[in-house]
Each structure stands twice: as structure tokens, then as C-alpha cells.
Symmetry: D2
Subunit: 128 residues, 4 copies
């Protein structure tokens, strides 16, 4: 698909779909999600999202990370669960958050590098 | 494509790709972008992005609008140009911004409704 | 008051309270608020907030503008009405928003320059 | 000081300055900052900021937490180090971040409750 025909969603890179120039940026740009495979309904659990090693300077850094959720059985997805904006040099592109889920689904982490664009990763979490 | 196989980018609705339940939400959720067709390089121009008519209550509203840009000839797109977060009831999902472009490309507006998810629209802008 | 004893609120500069090094930064950093003196209850009105002229480069720019409101008779103020984040070079530190008020009060604009800190300005708006 | 004469900075509550109605909200609204007393220059350390116990519903929750820094010897303070926005019910008002400092100073956490306003707390961190 020629880039000029891509919609915004098509511009989000993932480890598996990265092509051309993006291939060499996969290791340094794909978010890592650490979360349990199974959690209890409405009981807060910790999730950690990080990116890198990656430069962390004002002219090139991971500007922010967003956490989305695709909830099973929900008509309209995704839900935004949190958004974290970083300051170059002063804050690392790494965050721990505490989430509450009621239904199983897929957590997405989306990060934005001001030079290399949008990158996402996902992890399924079961709720019992 | 079954929803459970969709990546985050696939979850962004547009007027043309909305299907099933989303069909009836297209008019009230697709961002409207008002911008010139052609602008001068590095000369600020006004862009207006709005959504609705749409409910504007704490339990259901357009939470934010982001403006992205796919710059022609750039290896990694998109660029984030601005992000606007609204407060239910107090601020309308409508914003005017002033942008500077150096190269032609496509402006994307992305909005998030906390009930009906992510919706985007796009507009080409030529730089001369 | 020695800076080491200042709380976060004391670090917000205004045109009238700027002292020492901040004196020379008042014209380029105090937000300008354009809004009507009187509006009708629950009828959207336009407000424009801008800063500058000011550098707009990745290493020095107005990063964001927030709009707050102190509503008359409310026990706890302020309310956040909107937040706008800019991208250096690509978006100007200027925004138009459409607000709905139900009671008279004071609108505050707060801006953050990554080199020169937080600056606020205010404007009273009557609701009839 | 009558509220109508307060600037935006004066509206930020702290545990020590909360008065009148705010007195009873101090325990549930003052941010807790967990950070080392002393860190090494340019070596990332963890900081945890949390608020509550506090309601976490769409009509009443801690909407966001910001982390600021007043760096010793810097002409213009504060610096924004990070900003975290939460989703009612789905994310707890608690976050861990990893910061890098080069000079000693004071970390401020600022949180916004959509019903009870802005609350800040601070912690000194020495850099050796």
C-alpha cells in the first residue's frame, strides 16, 4: 500500500508490521508491556510500560505513552486508560500504572517518538 | 476481520470505513477539518477542527482532539502537531489552531469519545 | 520571600508580580486572553488565548496552555476547562476554544515555556 | 485574602495551607511523594506519586497528576518533568516514574480532582 493512501491507523508501526526504514527501529521503539496474564475483576494490578534504550534529548525522545484497552464484548473500542507525557532528559520513557478491569481484553501501549512516529504493542489480559 | 485480531490502528473509525454499530455514529463522531487547500511555507494558517453535534456531559463527551501530519517525503510519519483536551459541559469539542508547514502533506484529526472510541478524518494541504 | 521557601503556586509568574529576571520576560510570556466581558448562561462563546511573540523551536517554545475557571460561589476552585499542547515549530502558541459557563467568574490562562516556566493571566467574565 | 482576589497560584491547596472546607479534604487529596532523599547525578531513580483513598468514578475522580521540579540555582523555575492523565474507574491515581536530575532541588506533585480542585505536595531531593 503506497504511503499516500494510508490512513492514520495504518501509520502506527508494530514490531511485526514494521517495514523498510522502520525495520531497524523496532527494538528501540516497540513498547514493552509487563502485566499479569490473569487478574481479578475490579482489583487493581500493576502494569509497566517502557521503551528503549532510546535517545532522551530535547530534539529526539519518546514524548509520551498512552494505554488503551479493547474490552471483550464492548460495541465500541478502544478505551483510553491512561496517558503519560515525558520531559526529554528529565524523565525516562517508562511508567508503572495501576489498572482495574472488569472484563477480559487486550491492553495496547502506544508511544510517540518525535522523530520516528507512532509505535504500538499489545498484551491480552484475562479477568476472572 | 474479526475484532479480536485488530491492532490499535484498525480500531480507529473513519467515515468511510465505519461498519456495523459504528455506521449510525458517523455523523456525530467524524471530525470536521476546516483548513486551506494551499498554504505558504512557514506562514501560520488557521485550522479549525470540530466534532458533533454530540452529547457533552461528564459521562459521555468528546474528551480530546489530536492533530497529526503526514509530511510528504518524510521517512517516518506521522508528526503530532497539537493535542487539545476538553472538559465535559464547559468546553465544546471545537478548536482553532495556527499551524506552520514546510512541506505538503495530509493533516489528520483524531478524536476520542469515551463511549464510542477513536475517530479520524484527514485533509490534504499543499505547501507552495 | 526566598525562592527556596516558595510553593508551586508561588512559582507561577504574572505580569504584575514578575520580579528580577522575570521582569524582562513579561511581554513575551504573559498569556493574552480575548473573551467577552459578559456572556449568556450555557451559550457557547469563543475565547482566544495566545502568547508571544516568542521563539518556537524544539529547544525553546511555549509547550502548552491550560484554561482554568474560578466559578463564583463554588466551594472548590479552580475548574480545568481545557488543555492544549503544542509542537515546536509546527503549531503556534495560540488557540481558540468555545466555552459554556453557568455562573460568573474568572478565567485563568496558564502557559508553560520550557525555559522560562509558568505564566498566568486572568479575565473576569460575567454570566447573565 | 478574599477568594475573589486570589491568583491561580493561590488556588493550589496544600496540606499546610488548606483552610475552611478544604481542611476536611486534606487526607484524601494531598499527593504522596515517595522518592529518595539523595540521588546520583544523571542516574535514573524511581519516584512514586499517589493520591487517596479517593472516589474513582466518572463524575468524581483524580483526573491527572503532574510532576514539577524547582532546580537549585536555575533562574526560571519550575520545570515540568512528567504529566499523567487517568481514566475514572479504570486507572488508579497512582504512578511510578523514573527521573534523572543533575542538580539538587524540590520535586512538586500537583493533582487535579474535578470536584475539589488543585492540590500539591513537595519533597526535596539532593543530587550528589
Amino acid at each position: 500500500m503506497a504511503e499516500e493512501n494510508k490512513g492514520l491507523g495504518d501509520l502506527i508501526c508494530t514490531y511485526d508490521t514494521a517495514a523498510d526504514e522502520a525495520m531497524g527501529k523496532r527494538e528501540s521503539h516497540t513498547p514493552r508491556i509487563e502485566a499479569p496474564d490473569v487478574v481479578k475483576a475490579d482489583e487493581a494490578f500493576e502494569i509497566k510500560v517502557s521503551v528503549g534504550p532510546h535517545p532522551n534529548k530535547v530534539e529526539h525522545s519518546i514524548r509520551w505513552i498512552e494505554v488503551y484497552f479493547r474490552e471483550e464484548g464492548r460495541d465500541f473500542n478502544p478505551l483510553v486508560l491512561a496517558r503519560v507525557a515525558f520531559t526529554p532528559a528529565y524523565s525516562e520513557p517508562k511508567v508503572a500504572l495501576w489498572l482495574n478491569l472488569r472484563k477480559s481484553g487486550t491492553i495496547f501501549a502506544l508511544q510517540y517518538c518525535n522523530v520516528h512516529g507512532l509505535w504500538s504493542a499489545e498484551k491480552d489480559v484475562g479477568v476472572e
